[in-house]
């Protein structure tokens, strides 16, 4: 008889699972959130911070379990998510813009595009900043531009990878000032920071959050955004310096669901996430870790995607030539 007990229990469980979930019961089991980067990275720990409160009744009443699916700068995770993730509302993913949009444009065999996803909310905006080693001869952006003009192609600028925000910022800077810079793609934000600290490259673009944390070891010359940031209020924007670099390279992080998820579920997620992002505890933890917050709801996030896509199509066309 003992032999039959286990299969019987299983059968009972299976039948429970098949009883279907009424919308009022959503969510009745833990939610899975795919993070397309390795554990310990910026997106990963920020995702963990913003979802710590999910188990509270007023948000989801169920915990959010983070599942890391790293690879190819996020593409592996997003490919999987667009193709294979269940559309029942229990699977969601973090997004990084402009990364996923740029990748969908550049890599023709990607299985996703801006239209494969239902945007839910945005939690953070990490602008790119231009950093140089502590002992660099460049004291302002103008110094760097002047040097680059005199020595085309000699200035090495690194960033966390190819076609990520940093790369886009570099392209914008080069285009705006008509200079040739040599881009050195690194394995991620931290290795890129390390190279700049060790003066292995002359300059680099990196995230505001990382640069702020390491401000003892690097000089921050400018920020690629529309206005200065409170963390580093004495650093000018590129626009203030007279250089046409706007906020297309800002690294936005947020959440989306697969296209085709039930509209009521999407709305519920949106409300829960926006409330969580705006809660005091999340704000406190994010500030503690030096990560800038920027909350957008579903409609605003959708607009953001459209704007970034348009920008990228123009910018990337220039590279192709």
């Amino acid at each position: 008889m003992k032999k039959l007990l286990f299969p019987l229990c299983l059968l009972a469980l299976v039948l429970c699972g098949f009883s279907g979930s009424a919308l009022a019961a959503y969510p009745d089991k833990p939610l899975s959130m795919v993070v397309t980067y390795p554990p310990g990275g910026a997106t990963d720990f920020q995702a963990r911070i913003v979802t710590t409160m999910a188990s509270e009744e007023k948000f989801f009443g169920q915990p959010v379990v983070i599942i890391n699916k790293p690879g190819a700068g996020g593409r592996v995770g997003w490919n999987w998510f667009a193709e294979k993730a269940a559309k029942d509302g229990y699977w969601m993913s973090t997004y990084n813009a402009p990364h996923f949009i740029a990748q969908s444009l550049i890599y023709k065999d990607s299985k996703f595009s801006v239209d494969s996803f239902e945007p839910v909310a945005t939690w953070g905006a990490d602008p790119a900043v231009l950093i140089v080693p502590k002992n660099s001869p460049f004291k302002t952006v103008k110094d760097l531009v002047a040097f680059a003009k005199a020595n085309p192609g000699k200035v090495t600028v690194n960033g966390a990878g190819l076609y990520v925000g940093h790369h886009i910022a570099m392209l914008q800077l080069a285009k705006a000032e008509g200079i040739t810079l040599t881009y050195v793609p690194e394995q991620g934000g931290t290795p890129a920071m390390q190279s700049v600290m060790g003066a292995k490259v002359m300059a680099g673009f990196n995230n505001l959050a990382d640069a702020y944390r390491n401000r003892e070891f690097v000089n921050i010359l400018a920020i690629a955004d529309m206005q200065r940031h409170s963390f580093i209020s004495d650093v000018p924007t590129f626009l203030e310096e007279g250089i046409e670099v706007d906020n297309s390279s800002v690294n936005y992080r947020g959440i989306f669901l697969p296209k085709g998820t039930d509209a009521a579920v999407v709305a519920m997620c949106e409300k829960a996430f926006v409330d969580m992002f705006n809660s005091a505890r999340v704000k406190e933890l994010m500030e503690q870790s030096g990560s800038p917050m920027f909350v957008l709801n579903r409609a605003q996030t959708a607009d953001l995607f459209i704007k970034v896509q348009k920008n990228l199509e123009v910018l990337l066309k220039d590279i192709k030539e």
Binding site: K2, K3, F6, L10, L13, V14, G17, S32, V65, I67
Partner: protein, 165 residues
């Protein structure tokens, strides 16, 4: 001459891997990106050639004393005392393949349990008995229960869950 046949097969494979790789590299546009794998393939081809040379010499049974040290023989595996248990290994292979491919469909714990049980039943050289079968089911249950406790309950790790647990 099983040894010789095995070694000929091995040398063929050693040549074919870099050749296939070089073929796959052909349609990459950026020259720099091809450089590293290309040289690795050349190295592999060189090593395969040395191996083929050794094989040729072996087939002609020349004594190895005169050769420089870095072309020393690789020791061929001697034939075992018992014939190779092809059936059992074949079964193990098939079961493992089935386990991996069904894991996502029917869930990790169920498929693990079934695999464990089938392994114990099929691969055991002793004669199957009913009492033995019951005991094996118990072992399988206990093992999967421990794994379940350790991973799902204590660490809360997500496992591929299909229809069942």
């Amino acid at each position: 001459m099983i040894n010789a046949r095995k070694r000929i097969l091995e040398t063929t494979v050693m040549f074919s891997i870099p050749i296939v790789a070089l073929y796959m590299l052909r349609d990459i546009s950026i020259a720099d990106a091809k450089m590293f794998p290309k040289y690795i393939c050349y190295l592999m081809l060189a090593l395969a050639t040395i191996n083929a040379f050794q094989l040729w010499v072996y087939l002609h049974k020349i004594r190895p004393i005169h050769w420089p040290t870095f072309l020393r023989w690789s020791i061929p595996i001697k034939g075992g005392l018992t014939p190779f248990p092809l059936v059992r290994v074949g079964f193990a292979l098939v079961m493992m393949g089935a386990y991996i491919f069904c894991m996502e469909a029917i869930g990790f714990y169920l498929s693990g349990f079934l695999f464990f049980l089938l392994c114990l039943l099929v691969l055991d050289p002793a004669k199957p008995t009913l009492g033995g079968a019951v005991r094996k089911t118990l072992y399988a249950l206990v093992f999967m229960a421990v794994v379940y406790l350790l991973f799902s309950v204590m660490l809360g790790v997500v496992i591929p869950s299909g229809i069942a647990l």
